[in-house]
Structure formats: C-alpha cells, structure tokens
Assembly symmetry: D3
Homo-oligomer: 298 residues x 6
C-alpha cells in the first residue's frame, strides 16, 4: 500500500468515512463517540543495538481501536513514514473488516518508524524483539494477535512469537499469539495464496449474481504478483479464459486464453510476463481496455 502524506491524515479520512456510514445507519450519538476514537494507543521509544555496537532509539506504535467482538487483530508494519494517525486509521478499519465478516476479533494495528531495508538481518531481529518486548503488555492469544503487514513477514512473526513466549510464558512457545508465522511453527497453510483465492471466491459469488458462466468467461488481470498470479491460476483451473495479464514492465494478450502455469513459470525465470512466447505484448493502458467479462485490478 502506498503511504502518501495526505493533507488529511489517514485517521481523519477514516473518521470521516465512519461518520458517513454512521449517518446512513442512524447510529446513536454515544456509540459514535466511542467508535470514533481508539480505545488504546501505545507509543514506545526503544533502543536497538546495531551491528557496529552503537545504539539507536526507534519509535513504535500499537493501537487497539475496539475489542468488543474479541481480541485485537491487525498487522505490524515497518516503514520510515509510519505515524500514530496512520496506525489509528488502520486499526479502525480492522474493526470494520472483522465485523463485516462476523469474525470474533476487534481491530488493532502496529508499526515501527524504520526503513527495514537499511537494517542487517541481525539488526532487524534486535529491533523486532525489543519492539515486541515493549508492546508485550498488550499482546496475548486472548488480547491482541499481530500479523504480517507492510515489510514484515513470517520470519518477523516467528521472532515476535518467541519474544512474547520468552517474556510472558517462561520460554514455553505460545503459537496463538501471532498469525502469519512459518507453518513449521504452526502457521496457517494457504496463507500465501489467501488473497488471490479470496478474489476468486468473490468472483464466483458475483458470477452467480450476474449469470456469468466462469467456464466461458474472458478474464483480464492487472498485476501478476502474489495476489494476481494466484487468482489467474485458480481461474485457469476453473476453466476461465485469462486473455491478458500485466506486471510493472507491461502486459501480454492472447485472445484464445493464456497458458497460466506456463506464464507463471516464465515470470519465475525472467522476472516478468512480458516476452511470454504465446502472446502479444501490450501496454498497461491497453490491458485495461481489453475486451473481457471480468477485470481484476490485483
């Protein structure tokens, strides 16, 4: 997700969205007051030992917007421009996301102001462990369960799990304190392709509503990263004709349908879909104007 610096902060936007929705459903004033704010906002400033032996102090956040439905659920992001307002907005959105799906979780989010690309693996581990130590008063399987987000991954979740387990459970591992951890440590299978698969679930439901026969539908997909390529593969397996796909270097087009497993393998080798033999090269703009039944902006 691009993190621009808007005139309005992300949190202002989130509150504005909430007020509009609250108007629509006629939400009473008291609940508005409660839901307009975040229950808890924790700011931590913590030292990290760098590889050269020096110490730098970093700033991190962990916010709980609302816990009425269950423990807080929400990712932790590492980005040099993370602000408290951004984290508050994302925590609020997590409440809505969980509520819409009927999941027994409240909304939370966290972040550290750091450019992780400037850190060595050891420094990244040090930073993660100390940040986790500082916010561990909020965490727990029944309180707050982080997940990966921008610039964080299963390895970082493993460090969070280990640090929490060490501090709060005498070293006994507590897998339930974090999701998105490596499957070896109890992470969920299928997490990597969950986003793309979710897109296809949504398309299947929409196809029923609009009477689209997916075995005949023509599909165009903008973006061929994790989400886009997974959606392409799953639709291909359902019999759909994926006629166009693109990545940051450009797009490809084959009106009879692309051989998606072959495109995935090609991109794996060459780094792009562009140049795939059995297709015509097109621009990203052209891709968005291809004739199709389903267009996926992945």
């Amino acid at each position: 997700m691009a993190i621009a610096a808007p005139q309005q902060s992300l949190y202002d936007i989130a509150v504005e969205q909430f007020e509009q929705a609250a108007d629509l459903i006629g939400l009473e004033d008291e609940l508005r007051q409660i839901l307009r704010t975040c229950k808890r906002e924790l700011i931590v400033n913590f030292p990290v030992e760098m590889d050269d032996g020096s110490v730098k102090v970093f700033t991190g956040y962990r916010v709980h917007h609302n816990l009425a439905a269950g423990p807080a659920k929400g990712g932790i992001r590492y980005h040099p421009n993370v602000t408290l307002d951004e984290v508050k907005a994302l925590a609020m959105w997590m409440t809505w996301k969980c509520a819409i799906m009927g999941l027994p979780f409240g909304g939370g989010k966290g972040g550290v102001r750091v450019d992780p690309k400037l850190l060595s693996p050891g420094e990244l581990q040090n930073l993660t462990r100390r940040y986790t130590t500082e916010i561990s008063i909020l965490l727990g399987p029944h309180q707050d369960i982080p997940a990966p987000d921008v610039n964080t991954n299963p390895q970082i979740m493993a460090w969070i799990m280990d640090t929490y387990s060490m501090h709060r459970h005498g070293g006994v591992g507590v897998p339930a304190v974090v999701t998105g951890k490596p499957t070896l440590l109890g992470g969920s299978a299928g997490r990597l392709e969950a986003t793309g698969r979710g897109v296809v679930f949504a398309i299947e439901e929409a196809a029923k509503t609009y009477n689209i026969d997916l075995t005949e539908a023509r599909v165009v997909i903008q973006g061929f990263g994790n989400a886009g390529s997974t959606a392409a593969r799953l639709l291909y397996e359902l019999g759909s004709r994926v006629v166009g796909v693109s990545d940051s270097r450009g797009g490809i087009y084959n009106p009879r349908g692309l051989n998606i497993p072959a495109v995935i393998a090609y991109k794996h080798q060459t780094g792009s879909v562009v140049g795939f033999p059995e297709a015509e090269i097109i621009t990203n703009e052209q891709l968005l104007e291809l004739p199709c039944d389903i267009l996926i902006p992945a």
Copy 2:
C-alpha cells in the same frame, strides 16, 4: 501548579533542560538518545456514564519515562488542558527527582483531560474507575505506583486501588499499588504535612551552612495554606520567631513573633490570617520586604 500554554511545550522545555544537564556532565550520546524520550506513552479514550444516563468519552494518559531504577512513580492529574506533552515532561522530571534522592523508582505520570469541578461525585468515581481499568495494564506494586496530583486526592487513590485490586487481584486489596490513599486503607501517616516539613528540613540544613541560629531567627512566610502553615508551626515549635505571614487576602506582622497555633486557629475560623488580633495588617508586597533572616515563598 499553573498550567499555562507555553509557545514551547513543557516537553520541549524538559528536553532542553536535559540536554543542558547532559552537556555539563558530558553524557554519552547513546544514553542521551534513550533518556531524551519516554519509554512508554499510553493514550486511552474511554466512555463514562454520567448521572443523566448519557455517556461521554474522555481522553487519558499514562507515561513511563524510564524504569531503570525501579517501578514508575508519579501522580495522576485531572485538568481540562492536560496534554500528552505535559505528561511526558512531568514523567521525565519524576525520573530526575527520584534519581537525585536515590529513591528506587523510575519516572511516570498520568492525567485525564477533564474539569473535575463539572462532575458529580458519582461521575468522578465512574471516570476514575474506568480510567484505572484502561491503564491497569501498566500499574502494579512492581511496575507503576500512582499518587495524587493536581485535582486528585486520597479518595480518588482509594478508587484506583479498589479498581486495580478488583481487575488484577480477584478483589483482594493491593494497597501497594498507589500512594496517597486514605490512612485507613494503609496510606502513609504524615503525608499531608510532608511538604511543609520538607521545607523545614531544608531550612535546618541551610541554617547549619549559614550559621543561623533557628531559635533566634526571624521568619517570614508568604502563603499560609497546607505547606506554609505547616512550616510556620514547625518553626514555631523549634523556637523561631515567625514575624510575618500572608495569604491571598493580605498579610500580618508582629515583630515580636506571631503565636502561630493561634493564627492557624484564627484562619480556620475566619478563612484568612488577616484580622488576627495580635498583629498589624500589611500588604503582600510589604510582607516580602519585612526584615527577616529566613523568607519562605510557600
């Protein structure tokens, strides 16, 4: 303490003070980085039921500046202008105050943005209990021990103690989680007059340095509230001649020494020292220019 709105925030001032002190002692850069920031800053937004059945949302803070020397120690204030920056500054100053006295405590502070004079006793209790609930993840005899501060008092400390005990100890009372509670609940005897007594301890030490004989010294005291009247009484008991005292309505003067117990009784009855029979009425300005050996701005 007056809480003006400076151009510079209180926190900016506190950091500037710290940097000057750090320059003087040649503090190394890494410790400066750590001590310049607050370890933890918790912001809570919480609903309170009002007497008319409505719900209002209030904002509170609890900050830990540094815990290296022991659990956080620092008051909780209720004031409509409390800000996070103010609380951070006060928490930092608590670290310095404890360290200078060699007390095994770190620096903390808390506050709620509220004008307590606009609340009924029931609302004040509701607000205190819910605020305590929200910050109770930080509190504990070995973690963080609040105390009274601006607009908070022993009764409020009792509610804090009870709420913490109810939430964190299954209802068993934990007196050690808060200081400044009623003596009936284990509060320290002598707390009320501690400030005035401390003033006299300081005077006794200074008198040794400056070779002042306290049994002959003439004392003038500006202010006759809790601190001033206690200091007056203790110096009177030491044999000093308290020749002038004042309160917001004006001052009184008797060059042979005032009968302080009688002055205290007089103020208790009439609301002011002014009019005390065995003394001459003077202005507050005159008081500050009376001939004396010791002047106490209480």
Copy 3:
C-alpha cells in the same frame, strides 16, 4: 418448575431417591457417604445498590455436589423461595444427569433469594454482578460453569461472564465460564429450542421400539410454550399429524391435523392458541383425553 414447599425438603427427597438407587445397585457404603452429601455449599450475603440509592442485602447460594467427572455444571435461579436445601438437591440431580449422559461434568447449582420481577433492569444487573463477584472463587472454565435456570436468561449470563472476566482475567473475556450466553458472545446456537428438540429425539427413539410410524402418528401436546411449540413444529416437519394443542387458556383440536406454523403465528399475534380458525375449541381436560398415538405433557 413449580417450587412448592414440601413437608420433606427437596434435598431430603433427593437423598431418599439416591438411597433407593444405591440399594438397587448395591453401592458400597463409603461411596454412599460421599455421594449423599454435597462437596461444597457456599452461602453469600451481599449488598446491592437500588435505583433509589438505597442498599439492600440479598442471600445467594452456589453448591457443588460432586466434581469427580469434571467441572461443575448447573444453572443459577432467581426466586424468592430459593433455599440452600433446594439448591443442594438440584446440584445432586445435575451430577446424576451428567453421569447418565456420559458428559464430563460434575453437578452444581446456584440461586439467589429474590423476586426478579420486583427489580429494574439496572438493579437486576447490579444484583447479578455482585452475586457473581461473591461466588467467583468457585467459577471458571475448569471449575464451575453456570447456565440459565428459573428466571435467568442469556442477558444475565452475559453479565456473569463479564463480571468473572473482569475479576479473574483482567478484563479479557472468558466465554467458556458460562453457557446459555447470547450467541453474539459465543453462546451455542440452537439452545432455545434444545428442550423441544430433545423431546422429539426421545419420541423418535421410542417410536422405533414401539413400531410407531411417525409420518402417520396422531400427536397431542399439552402446553405450547418454548418446549411444546418447538416439539409441535418439529413433529409437523416430520409429517406427524398434531391433532391437539393447549396452553393456559385452553386447547384446540383438529382431527385432520393442525397447521402448526399457522398456530404458532396465531399464538404470537393473539397470545393464545385458543381461537385458531381451523380448529375446534376444547378444554384442557378434554385435550388429555383425545384419541392419539403420542401424548406430550410439555
């Protein structure tokens, strides 16, 4: 359940039943001694703040008869005539009920001496929360799990869950401490109609034994509350002919079978089954003498 005041207390009756059963199975004396008594009987007297600001003291009970098979399971009832002996009897019966079904629970029961119809909702909540506080030393997912009983309902279970969670788990919700809570808080789906459904399960088993074809059977049901109307609907869905039903105002009869969904809707509108168009009005006595294959005293 009607709670008459028998010459013999309910507990005397329960012990007498137990002794008869123990004779039949030749139970050894030592186990008789243990099972004849209740392991723990807790009486609590607790103050409740009323809407007018006054305080009343109420008496409550929570009894564990036996925990050998697992944590105590048993309801909490609110009734002005509840006695310790009644609660002990009901706790003992819960042990037998769980044991007969092979459920891994022991027998418990609780009650408060109060007529809940005389309390406002706020007073009912105050009473429930304080009673829960007082008995919370017994409760817990692995110790004792209450449930609704006479005059208690999902809302009351929610207050119990919240109070327990607040006192014993630092405010983190513990859904497993109580059953019969609202489904939104994790309550079991289907609980409302469980009694009626259980009746039908029993009828289905009996029908096999007695070679009754339920699709042809004529059914009469005395009582059309939660249990009776659910049983009527489920048998209707199985194809049985429900020829007569009654409530406190009287009965109705249609030898060709009543349209049960229509009867339910009629009662929902009018408050009684009597007057339902496609049926003949009968007395409750006549209902019990109707020709039928299955008679349900609900």
Copy 4:
C-alpha cells in the same frame, strides 16, 4: 470455651449484641444490614481415610464475616458440636475484636464437626489436610489467615500451611497463610504466653487508673493453666504479692505471697498446686473471697 446448646443460637446472641451496639452509636440502616450478616459461609463435606482403611465423611465450615479492614483472621476449631451458627457468631466477633484494636484484619472463623480425641495422629493429619484442601479457595496471606482455636494447635497449623503451600504455590512454603504455627516454621515467639501477658498489660493500665501500686498489691488468681500461671509469674516478677491461686483440684493461700516459680515447678511435678508446702489449702470458693487488691478469673 464451653459450647453449650443455648435456646438462642450463638449467632442470634451475636446479632442481638450487634443491634444493641448499633442502637447506641446510631448506626445507619444500610450498614446494619451488611454487618448483621456474614459475607461468605462455606460448608464442606469431605472424606477422610481412617487407620483401618475405611472412609468417613466429615463436615467443616469456614466463614468470613467482613473483610473491609483486611484479610480474614480467625481460628479453626475441632469439636463434635460445632455448628454453622456458632462459627458465624465467632466470625462476627472477630471483626469486632480486630476493629477495636485497629488491626488491619477482617473477621473469620472455621471449624470441623469432629471429636479429635477419637482420632489417631495420622487420622488427625488426614482430616486436617483434606479440610484445608476443601477451604483453600478462601485462604491466602491476603485473603484469610487461620489460627489455632479449640482443640487445634501449632502442629495442625503446620499441616494447614503445608497443604495450602502444596496446593496453591507448587510446594513452595507460604508461612504467611497461618499464624500459631511452630516457631521453627516461622511462628511468632511469645504466642504461648500471650494471653497471660495480655492480662498483665490490662492490669498495669487499670492500676494506673485506680492508683494501685503493683509492687505492693495483693493478687488472687483463679485458674493456674497457661493464662493463669503466666499472669502469676509476670506479676511476681513485677513485685506483686500473689497470695492465692487455684486449679480444678482446689486452691492454696499464703498471705505473705507465694513463691510463684516454685508453685509452677510444684504443679509441673504433681499436676496440681494443691499441696504446695509453703501455703495453706483452701477451697475454690474460699479463694474467691480472699482479701486482695486484684482478682484474676483466668
């Protein structure tokens, strides 16, 4: 203390006393309601393995009257006639006793219906450990701290401490859970003679009020057990003339004052004070009519 079976139960008497005192101080009705009842009354029925391998079920009690001032303090008695009403009365009296002395404890009491003289040491240990197990949900250094009472002693307190420590603290000893334990386990020194010493403290205060010179006073003591002989020895050491003492076999009299250490040694050898060489033998009735300044019914 003799435990007769009064028409009125001990608890009725205790409540009546309370109402009289409440009238005298004009106690408000709500506090009366609360203080008239016991907060918690726990009845336990528990099996004990006897030396012949059989199992007997015993009934025990532990009552908390009021905990506002601190954890419950109160003894545990073993007696075949102990009733819940008696234990409730004694718990209420403990509240008053602690409050009058300003001790930070609430009132509690416990008991088991058993004649301990009919038990072997092993059976007594089994009974104590199982009773402790059953009431351990109430006990704890911050909750409820038992002590010896009728027919219980330091050895029994040691078993209670060990059982509690085993069940609630993983086997790590918790000396603070019980008083009256052996000094080797952290029991208080001086506990044995505390009653007699307290008598002498009271006499010393009374002597000041009545202008009695204890170094010349004539003292008569009825009873020469633990309390009486300790009081006799301490007064003897203060210089008082103890002219008469008695035990269940009769009394002795020496108008010049008895040599108390010698009397104690004589009773230790012979089992009675009667026959002590340097004194005249008198009846218990005569003892009560001896001329004296101080009469102690021990």
Copy 5:
C-alpha cells in the same frame, strides 16, 4: 524392551547413530553439537513411605532432549536398572520419532530405579506421587507430557495427573498433562490396541507396494500378547488367513486359517494358544519356517 547392560551405554549408541545420520545428511557442526546432548537432565532423590511405616529413598530421572518442535513427549519407566544414560538415549530417540512423523512434540523420557513388583499398590502410589511432585517443575500441557512405558500403566498416569493437578492447578484436573490415562479421565480410546493396529496399517501400505492381496494372504504371527493378538484380529477381519500364531509356550498351525476370535477366547481361558482344538501344535522354531506371505514378529 529388554534392558541389558551393554558395554557401550545406550546413550553412546544413540549418539553414534545420530553421528552416522548426521554424516549422511551433512548436518552442520553447530546443530550436531546441540542435538548430540540433552537440553535438560533432572535427577531426583526422594523419600517414599512404605507400608510398614519406614521410609526409603529412591532415585528418578526426567530428561528433555530437545523441545524445538513442541513440548516434550515420552514415557516414564519403572525398572531397577534404569540409568541416566538410558533415559537420555530414549529421550533422544523420542525426538527423532516425533520428527519423522511430523508431530509437534520434542523428545523426553523419565524413569525411576525401582522394581515395582516389590511394591504394594499403596507404595506404588506413594512412589508415583512423590516422583511426580519432584519432577512437576518440568511437566505441563505446554512443557512436558509423560506417557506409560515399561512397568507403568493407566493407573499410574492417573496418579501423575492428579498429583500435577493438585500441585500446579489448585486441585483442578489437568487431563492434558499426561497421555495413556484411563479413558474415564479423558484418555484416548484405542490406545491399548494402537500398537497392533499400527502394525496392520504398515502391512496395508506394504501390501500395496508388493501387490499382495490381503484377502488372500497367509499370515504367521510370532507372539500373541497385546500387539500380536490385535494384529491377528484386525487381519482376520480384513479377510487374511492367519495360519500360525505362537506365544511363550509354543505355536499352533492351521493351513486353512485359524479362527482368531476363538483363539483369543481360548488363550484368555487357558493362558496360552497351545492346545487350541482346531490346530496343530508346533514349536516356536517351526512357526518361523511356516510357508506364508506375511510374517509378523510381534
């Protein structure tokens, strides 16, 4: 398992096996160092009260080889020749066994140096409870979960569970702390026949590989204890022809296939398979040379 006293200790053998395997997979030196040793080895010396009132001191062990994959899993054995080295070897093997099957458990093992046949049931219980008490610092559903092993059984597991629950959970039962407990206490169904059933699962897989039709296969089974007789019964139910079985007294043979349920009943009555009517008696040596498709050394 026979526990001979090898020249090499079992642990030496286990390490040698490990080194060979590590060579084969080219395991890096640091992991070798870690995996070559046991993480924790606990030796306990503890007193046990014997039936005659005397006290004997026994030595027990509990070893954790590696916990990276989850809590320790491994049996507890009672044998007069158990040594620390043997327990360490068995703990290491448990790590490999769990890892090969992908189970989320680490490797552990325990033992007591005792010949349980020389103990009465009461002494066995005393020994088990005290041993459990001593090692309970290691146990727990998330730390270490024992199971039956040589000379230990479900009854002993029940004592372990109860002792742990009493010491570590205030008497609330913790079934998850041990496996192999009685099914009444939550033990797994099917545990008794699990070994024999596992043998048949392996045979079914092998049969697929070797194209053996189990409904026609001739089977010979050496040993007719728990594992052998279960395997025999399950293969019989699959339609295999079990032509020969044996026990310590000799073997029986019927080329048309034995009626296994009848053989089991016969052995139950007579203590041996030898003499079963519908079969020929053979020696154990002859059994191993019978013509067959599958030979099971049980």
Copy 6:
C-alpha cells in the same frame, strides 16, 4: 578455593563427613537416607553464541540438596573442572552452613564447565543469560537464590537477575532472586568486606574465651587479599598490633605494629606488601613462625 581432582570425589568426602557427624549425634536411619542425597540435580547443556558468530555448547549444573529450612541458597561458579559431584558436595555443605547459623535457607549450588578467562565480556554475558534461562525453572525468591562464587561477580549476578526477571516476571525486575548483585540494583552494602569482618567477629569471641586483650594483642596475617586486608584494617582500628602480613610475593614484619592503612595504600600502588618502607622483609615461611597472639591464615 583450589579445585584439585581427588581420588575420592568431593561428594564422597561430603557424605563421609556427614556419616561421621550422623554417628556422633545418633541420627536415625531414615533422615540419614534423605540427607545423604541431593533432592534435585539439574544438568543443562546449552548453546552460546560466540563473538565470531559460531555456537558452542556448554554444560551447567544447579543442585538443591535440601529445602526443609527454606529456599535454596548457594553460589554459582564458573570453572573448567566443575563436576556434578563437586556441585552436589558444595550444595550439601550449604545446608549445614545455613542450619548451623539458624538461617531460614536450604542448601544449593551451581556451576558451569567453562574457563571464563577465555571468554570476551559479550560471550560471558551470553553464557550467563542462557545458563540462567535453562535453570530458571528452579530459581525464585521463594525457591532458590544464587550468589557469586568462584569466578562469578556482581555483574554476573545482575545478568542473572535481569534474565530471570525477563523470563519469569514479564521484564519487571526481581531483585530478591539473587544476592551479591551490585548495590545499585539492591545488593547488600558491606558484602565485599563481609568475609574479613566475619574473621574479626570470630576473633573477638575467641578473645573473650581465652582472655586475650585485643588492644594489646600481636597479630600475624597470612594473605593480604580481600579477606586478609579487611581483617587487618578492622583489627588495627580495634587497637591490635598487626606485626606481620604477607601476600604471594612474601611478607613484611614490624614488631611495633604495621601502619595498616599505609600498607593497604602501598599494596594498592605497587601490587604487593613487600617493600613497604617501615617494615622488614621476610619469607612466607618466616611469617608463620613470628611470635604473636593471633595468627590468621586468610
């Protein structure tokens, strides 16, 4: 303390000493059995990250001999020749030492097989923290309280305290888990000179018995390290004449008494007492034959 490798292990010696003492006091056999062994012996093998990034596995021990009198007390030593038998012997001796002094502690001891002089400060910290992690299941203010011993010091105790606090108390410092920590962290004042002061206490008692007037006594001290120089200074302050002292380089002698503060300053500057101006140089053998009233082998 020199750690030679005796034919007999230290533990054999300790048991032999115990048996002799047990014979002398006629200790009953059952207590002998219990006291002859160590209650718990924990061996841990743990990886440590070295400065070059490699990992080495070390072996450590922690032994509890007996806890009847209270939590285990005993040091932790780092030495390449530490063995389990040595640690067991030292733990047993700690039981006797505490018991003789009537201290409420049991006997414990620990050690790691490592030559700490070969480790960098970072490696020493890594080793200490990981060793503490592994034995932390035994530690705690009420369970086991380590102290410095051979090659361990206040800094190492601080790491132990921090690691324990991090693992077992969520990062909240637990000073009571270790003694000999820096005074800044709550260590006892006077610990450094406690050994020398203890020597002088013993001399003062002995002087009373033997009627030696310490203000006139001539003292010779072999060894001038921490213990010897402290004893010298304290005796000097008592007025004794310290006529000879020595260190590893030789001794000095002044029959009129050495100026001990000056000798301490001289050794501080030069590294030895030899060469001190106001004294004659002697050999260590000569020192032991000097005429004196008190000879201290420090």
